[in-house]
Symmetry: C2
Subunit: 309 residues, 2 copies
């Protein structure tokens, strides 16, 4: 399972029932929170996202609509009795923001928080490694230090093709040896090689989370071929100059990056409060890159396995 | 119009769709925000509460469930182009909380904020005076410095009884003199005194907002006879010891204060996340003080005029 739950889709000022940025990524029983705007813990509860398996939080930048839910969610985890450590990755300043926020609200967090503060990270620089997920930095172009994140599955071991081994006549007690990569000679003298019964692992799935950013052509090179790209699209082309001035993107900008990078699917979000209707975002982007969807709150987006065979 | 809109009713950890504390008080075209837990601006939008006429914000204490929505709402007001100054009343530390929060999220607020920091305020001490509303302090008993607020209408001028003046034969051109408090002699030599045509102003309506607090008997003396009392009731009596230990109240505690103070109506709120059902709060309180209601999110509670005659 590799699933994104959209918790917030709006930019700075909440509007039309849309909340500030947050997403929950669930992967093989572990979850990650991507940005944490005001109300994220309430949105997570509304959409049935449990916080218990939360392993790390990734913050793109310190604008309020990406961090104001952080102190609340950290406190709630503590009041809920969380014992497990939590990793918090973000630009320099994230630690002070959390520590001041906790101290000023007389709050203590009883589990350990491991801060990973990023100071001018390089594209592709590893910023987190879990058991099954590696996360690297995607520096973005915004008014304040901002970093997107590329989530890459760590390949599982090779898959053992049980029925193929059985067909070749391997007795059960010798299957363990084969699984571990040893050749096995059968009673009839025939030898089965491990490569005959071990399939290559599934190619790792990848998700790129890119918000907030102005149009940044070199980003495409760092996310080439990802399965899913979330790219902010605060504005439509009618506000292109405003997008440039505020270091945000239009839907067409996001689609150009997606096309250039040859991604599997593009997901738009971070809509400005000036737009009530979202269909124009989809129309504008699809003219450039057809495999585009709108991020909508409560939505679940799965990335299916890329089976090798 | 003297109306409260309930925006949040839960204590520390949001649960069962209930949000942290916030209320909007609207009085004669002006509004006041009472506490500002995470998500307050989203709740205000959900329940159609406009922020444009917001004149002042009153914070009881700096626990996260009462202040974490503050930086978001202040920023949103600025992005919305607010020019008017805003008064922010709260315990010492509120200014640093807001100023750090804005600075750390690279936010600026373009309208002036006037901070009123309360350092060990006395009961009844005036903390704010608007055109038609006076607000005084109600020190409470909690784990951190906490102050409730008593909202008292400033009486309007005496009401001119137009039809009574007409009945007495006062010609229109002399009514202005009477309104200003002068006696008027009619053509027939009869004199009309201002007290004959001026009614006493409506007795001021009062609302006491008391959260968070342990059972505090002396509070009753400071809120005697208020029209409406909001008193926290985090727990039921089954958790009385826990209420004592954490400086919170039970529903029965709240009702005892209401009975002792002889208030018009008691409103319960700040429910603990351990309770899904709220009816037991109402039942417990009504056994002590029948004029009790539950605060429920989205609810509007009006205080009608107490006409003198």
């Amino acid at each position: 399972m590799f699933e994104i739950c959209i918790l917030g889709t709006n930019s700075a000022v909440p509007a039309f029932g849309r909340h500030p940025t947050a997403q929950m990524l669930t992967h093989m029983g572990t979850s990650f929170l991507l940005d944490c705007g005001e109300g994220t813990q309430l949105q997570a509860a509304r959409y049935g996202q449990r916080l218990r398996k939360l392993e790390a939080i990734f913050i793109t930048h310190l604008h309020g609509d990406h961090v104001l839910g952080l102190v609340g969610i950290l406190t709630t985890l503590s009041l809920g009795g969380r014992p497990l450590p939590l990793t918090l990755v973000g630009p320099v300043g994230i630690r002070a923001f959390v520590e001041y926020g906790l101290a000023q609200t007389y709050s203590t967090v009883r589990y350990p928080i491991e801060f990973v503060e990023l100071d001018n990270p390089q594209p592709g620089q590893e910023v987190y490694r879990g058991k099954r997920m590696m996360v690297s930095a995607l520096p973005l172009s915004h008014r304040v230090p901002t970093v997107g994140y590329l989530f890459t599955e760590i390949p599982a071991r090779q898959r053992f093709l049980f029925y193929e081994a059985k067909r070749l006549g391997v007795p059960k007690e010798k299957m363990g040896l084969l699984k571990l990569g040893n050749p096995v000679t059968l009673e009839d003298g025939f030898t089965v090689l491990p490569e005959q019964v071990l399939a290559a692992p599934d190619p790792p799935r990848r998700y790129a989370f890119c918000t907030d950013t102005g149009f940044l052509p070199e980003l495409a090179g760092h996310i080439a071929g990802v399965d899913l790209l979330y790219h902010e699209s605060t504005f439509l082309q009618d506000q292109e100059q405003r997008a440039r001035d505020t270091f945000h993107s239009t839907a067409a900008d996001a689609a150009r990056i997606a096309r250039q990078a040859g991604v599997g699917k593009l997901l738009l979000g971070h809509y400005s409060a000036r737009y009530k209707e979202l269909q124009p975002f989809l129309d504008e982007a699809r003219r450039v890159f057809p495999h585009t969807e709108l991020a909508l709150e409560g939505q679940l987006i799965s990335i299916p396995l890329n089976r090798a065979e």
